[in-house]
Symmetry: C2
Amino acid sequence: MKIVVQKYGGSSLSTLEKIDSVASRIARREKGGEDRLVLVVSAMGETTNDLTRMAYDLSPDPPARELDMLLATGEQVSIALMAMALHKHGVDAISYTGPQIGLKTDTLHTQAKVLGIDSGKIQKQIDLGRVVIVAGFQGVTAENDVTTLGRGGSDITAMALAVGLRADRLEKCTDSDGVYTADPRIYRSAKRIDRLSYEEMLEMSFSGAKILHPRAVFFAWKYRVPILVKHSEMDGSGTWIEELEEDVEQPIISNVTHDVTVAKLTVYGVPDRPGMAFRIFDCLSERGVGVDMIVQSTTKRLVNDISFTIKRGDLAKAREGLEKLAADCEGMEIEADDRVAKLTLVGLGIRSDSSVAKDMFKALADEEINVEMIATSDVKISCVISEDQVKTGVRALCRRFFP
Amino acid sequence: MKIVVQKYGGSSLSTLEKIDSVASRIARREKGGEDRLVLVVSAMGETTNDLTRMAYDLSPDPPARELDMLLATGEQVSIALMAMALHKHGVDAISYTGPQIGLKTDTLHTQAKVLGIDSGKIQKQIDLGRVVIVAGFQGVTAENDVTTLGRGGSDITAMALAVGLRADRLEKCTDSDGVYTADPRIYRSAKRIDRLSYEEMLEMSFSGAKILHPRAVFFAWKYRVPILVKHSEMDGSGTWIEELEEDVEQPIISNVTHDVTVAKLTVYGVPDRPGMAFRIFDCLSERGVGVDMIVQSTTKRLVNDISFTIKRGDLAKAREGLEKLAADCEGMEIEADDRVAKLTLVGLGIRSDSSVAKDMFKALADEEINVEMIATSDVKISCVISEDQVKTGVRALCRRFFP
C-alpha cells in the first residue's frame, strides 16, 4: 500500500466551492482505493497576507511569537473545512495541526526550521483507513510554542511528512498543470516540462520560481522522494521532479525563470584590505538580510566595488545598515537600485555545453539588454538586467533555447 | 500580590481599535502595579458565528471534532492580537491557547466540560512579571483533540483559571457597566445593582440573562470567587456578585429578566400511565434538546397534557421527535408555540416574602397579560407569556417592584 502526500496551496483552496471541489476529487480517487492519502493544506487564498496586515495595522513591531500564534490559525481553518468537506463526500478524514502531529522546530519564530516529525500518530490514522489532513506551514518548539516555517513553508511540511512516512511521492497540487519552460503569461509558446532533475528544480526555486520551496526540493533530493507537480482540479499528467540519470536524454535548457522581487546594492570604494567584505555581509546578516548574487570588481586601485542582490523588501534595512558602515569608512558610498530583475536559464546541459552562456548573452544583446551582473552554477546561468526589459528578455531566451 | 482574572467578550474586542483601547487601559493599570492580571478573551465580534456559518455552508452536518478545530481559531486570533497590542503599549505579555495551558475537557465536542487545568504554566509566567492572555472557550481532550465549551464558554475558562490560580476575583469586562434591575433598553429607569448573591445570579443566568454562563456562576459560588461585572472601557464600579449574608439588607427583588429565545411545546393526550413522561423527555434528550420549565396538568381523565419550554432553535428537532412518538400513541397530539417569552423575577426576598407571587400576577393581570406557565424556586418566579407582551410585562414588573 502506497502512501501519497498531497500538498494544496492557498489558491487551490481560496473559496468554499474550491475546497468542496478538491474534496470531491479526492473522494472519487479514494473509491479507486489504491493509494493512502495524506493531505497538507495551506491557508485559504490570501488569508496569511490578511492576517499579517492585521498584525501590522495593530502594531508596527508585533512580537514574532505572537505573529506565529496569529498566522497559524489560517491553516487550522483550512484543515477543519477540508475534513468537513471530505466527510460530506463520504470520506473518513481527520485533521491535525502542526503541533498535534509533533512537527518540532527550532525557536526562530516566523522562519522556523523543522527538526523532526512524529509520524506515528499519522501512520496510526492511515492504518485505520482515514485520510489525514495536516496543517502546513506550522510547527511547535520544545517549549510547546507555535512556530511558522516562513513563506512556502507548507511545502516543507509536506516534504517532511513524505520523508517521515516513507511516502511513494509528493504531489504538489496547484493552479497550473505542471512546470513550464517559461511563464506562459509572458511567452505564450511555453511548453510543459515532463521531467526535471532535483538539481534543476533547486536552481529554479532559488532563482525565483514559485513552484516549490527550495528547502522542500533539497529534502526531496536528499531522501530521493519523487515530486509530481500537477493541477489541483484537473486529471492527467504534470511535471515529475526526480533523480535523472546523466544518460537520460534531456534538453540542454529546461527552463527560463525570472524574478522581479530583487534589488541590487553596490558598495563603492571598499578599502582593499582583509575583513572588509566580512564587515559588509556581517552587517547584512545581523539585520536578517539574505544575499543572493555577489560580484566584486577587481581593479588596480586600492579600493574595490562590491555589488550584490537581495530581496527587494529587505532594501530599506540593508541600506540603513550599510549607510552606517559607510559613515565609518571614508570614500565608501552606497548605491541602491530596486528596478532590476533576475533572469535565469536552468538546464542539466549547461554543465556540458559551454556555448550556452555565449548564446544567452548574444540573445540578450540582440535585444539591446544590458547585463549588469552574472552568476553561474553547474546547471544555471543568472543575469541581472533592468526590470523593464524582463519580458523582452524572457521571450528572447525562449526563442533562442526553445525554438 | 493579588491575581485578578479579567474576561473580555467578543463585543469588547470587535475591532483592532477596541483591542488597542483595551490594551492601553490595561497598560495604565499595570503601571499602577498592584494586581497581577490574567486575561481570558473571546473571539472578535461575530467571528464564532461567521465560522459556524462557513462550516454549515460547506456541509449540512459537519463533524463536531472538526467544528471545534475550526471555531478554536477565533480565540487564537484574539490572544495573538491582544498580546501584540499590549507589547505596543509596553506591557510584557504572552498568549496561550486552551490546549497549551492544559485546559483538559471531556470528549463532548462543541459542548465539552472542563475536567481540570494546569495552572503551573500560567503561574510561572505571572512570577516572571508577565500579563498572561488565555484563549477562552477552548480546551483539549486526553487524546490531544481540540474541544470547545459551548456558547459563553469563555466565562467558564475564566472561572476555571480564577479557581486554579486562587485569584482574588474575576472581572467580567463587557459593554455594560454592571447588572441592571431590568434591560435599560426596555425600562429606562432601570438601575445598576451594586451587589447580587451567587444564587440570584445563577437564577438570572438560567432565566436568560446573558451576563454570565450559569456554569461559571456555579463554580464561582462553589469556590467563593467574587465576580465584578464592569465596563471594558470605563473606570468606576460595576456589580459585585458574591456571598451575601442573610442579614445583609438586600432588596426583596433584584432583577427582572426576560428571554425571547424560548418556545413552548404541549403534548396533549398523554396516556396516564407510568413511563410516558420518561418516553417524552428521553426522546428530547436523545436529540440533545434541553428542557426548561415543565407543567403537567392533572385532570380526572385517563390522559394528561404536558407543557414545557425549550430553546427556540431546538424546536424543529424536538417537534420531529415528538411527532414520531405521537404516531405510536393514539390520541396524542403536539402543539408548538414559538411566539412566547419567559419573564422572571429574581430576588433573595422571594424566599421570605410570600406576597411576591401574588403581586407579580396582579401586575401582569392589570396589563391583561395572560400567564401560560409558572415555575418557581427559592429566589425566582418565572412566567411564560406571549412574546408580543414581553416589553409591557417587563415595565409592569419594574414599576411594581422598583417604584
